[in-house]
Subunit: 347 residues, 2 copies
């Protein structure tokens, strides 16, 4: 790429701001340039993103609430999209980007593998991407990597696979405050049950990861069984944001199983709780040869989420048009790193 | 895929035969079908591949030495190509396949990332693939996966990467006889030195893996330094094929380093020797976040080599035309597994 990739950030909430910060850092490589930012929050519209980042410098990029006008004006190469976990509420934003001729890399969890939960919307988005010659992809560390595309790649050296079991254990105590709140750190078992009863509690994307793995292997699932249970703390845990007493909720154990030919062939087990002693990402493939892949310490999600978004940029730019998932694009790899920077320190 | 992928096996040496055996096993899934086999060995030409496999059944597929005629006649969807480790000696075979309109998945190590060692040939092959609308890809477990495309994918969750260190330790004693011979199991240090002096000893593909990782990260290497040393056995090791006495050669330690901005940024260390106690594939990414990925026990190469070839078939079929590497295609995943088989046992 001779010229820097021109990026617009769509959504400047916590994830969007963290993404912005890294895009700005990467500008020194000459490979990427932030040209615009979009958000509807009146407290942010009109402000320089440097001010929002609180780093005391002006970037010249001011938050706009006019998405259509800004994209038509700037014609960026790619939009980094971080406005929602749910597809239904924001598919119009994706269509708008496509109509403006922009590729989109989105953190929307439901977009990571949208075909099962949102077949009609998926088709609409795919057609909008196709007719405008752009790529739209939803990705992230989970869903989008740890429990799906990496798990699939673990099977790539197997002559046969009969089962695949994926485990992710996250020490929520090291993560940002919203995640600690999201997993229910410090609440009671009764409160956990009440939140669970709303149907809007737990990790978003496990269903998508399961379906992506099944699709990648060409397995048709006969049944899907999901469960969400509290992890009860056996001791007092104090994080920067919460205190969890013994006997109260430390976080969630969210799991899902997919059945093929009467057997649980794909299982995904996600534990996110404060005080987890041995964070890990693990993929066990029952096959020939068997594969036991581990990322010791686990993949640190706060950074990895925005990293996968940014790292997917060059893949989205060179992919054929359409709605894609992380299993359709080449293996994601780091983009615009320090050793490519013109002014890298010698440290 | 509604109809089975029609496959021709080009080369029925040890790897070709092992590949054939698995393609035939996978026919029960209805996703793949062996339709032809090519080899120039007079001892094999005219024989049914079932006879060559020694499994006492007739497949109806007879080995031909007329590659051009067979491909024109059968028009297979894909050729699995396993005739050589070196590109120079067999690029005509790839061109011939392309001219017959066939996609090619090849085990040729030098084809896994051919641009550095063979820039002109790479261009010729790419143009032949393009003009005939087919995909040509070289892959395997190493090169093609363990020390390059998997290592790249390990960086995909990193916001920054400054170094990457890849280690593969193989217990050659568990591998097929040619590999044990290839690594020098049982020879003396003097014999090792003599073989090394020929320049045709050691693992083929380490250079290609290094260049693929560098290319994937966009890093321009200032220097490449390769080393090949014997692993000396500290005890008596008896395999099915060789006896290694204490003080004699157990195998090789082959490594390569790539320098960017005055520092070893990419190192690949491959140890293949009989009696290795802790086989492993490990990727250490120095970055943000740091990543420590391991495949405990290592990836068993004999099976994984042919598995990656077969598993790359659907990726090659759906890729845009041209010469591709494993970092250009979607993450490889298992293809045509038992749970997709119509007559799978309930075990």
């Amino acid at each position: 790429m001779d010229n820097p990739v021109r990026v617009v950030q769509y959504g400047v909430g916590p994830i969007g701001l963290a993404t912005l910060r890294h895009v700005l850092r990467k500008e020194e490589t000459g490979l990427v340039k932030l040209v615009g930012a979009i958000d509807v929050d009146p407290a942010k519209v009109g402000k320089d993103v440097g001010e929002l980042l609180g780093d005391g410098r002006s970037t010249g990029v001011v938050v706009s609430d006019d998405a259509r006008g800004l994209l038509a004006d700037l014609k960026p190469d790619v939009v980094l999209h971080t406005t929602s976990s749910f597809l239904g509420s924001m598919s119009d934003q994706l269509i708008l980007c496509a109509e403006a001729g922009c590729n989109v890399v989105s953190s929307t969890e439901e977009l990571s593998f949208p075909y099962d939960r949102h077949p009609d919307l998926s088709q609409t988005i795919h057609e909008a991407a196709l007719s405008n010659g752009v790529t739209i992809v939803g990705t992230g560390v989970n869903p989008g990597y740890a429990m799906d595309s990496l798990a699939l790649m673990a099977t790539g050296v197997c002559a046969d696979v009969t089962e695949i079991h994926v485990q992710r254990i996250v020490d929520a105590g090291l993560r940002r405050r919203p995640l600690q709140a999201k997993v229910g750190a410090g609440i009671t078992s009764e409160e956990f049950a009440a939140r669970k009863a709303t149907g809007k509690f737990g990790h978003i994307g496990l269903h998508e990861s399961l379906l992506m793995v099944a699709s990648g292997l060409g397995w048709v699932l006969e049944a899907v069984d999901e469960s969400l249970e509290p992890v009860i703390s056996d001791r007092r845990v104090v994080t920067d944001h919460f205190t969890v007493e013994p006997g109260s909720v430390a976080g969630i154990h969210h799991s899902i199983r997919g059945t093929v030919r009467g057997k649980d062939r794909i299982t995904l087990s996600l534990q996110m709780y404060v005080g987890a002693q041995e964070p890990v990402d693990a993929v066990q493939v029952v096959g020939d040869p068997p594969i036991n892949m581990r990322v010791d310490g686990g993949i640190f999600g706060d950074t990895a989420t925005l990293a996968t978004l940014i790292n997917t940029i060059p893949l989205a730019l060179t992919s054929e048009a359409g709605l894609k998932t992380s299993k359709d694009l080449p293996p994601v790899r780091a983009f615009a790193t320090s050793p490519t920077a013109a002014q890298m320190s010698t440290a």
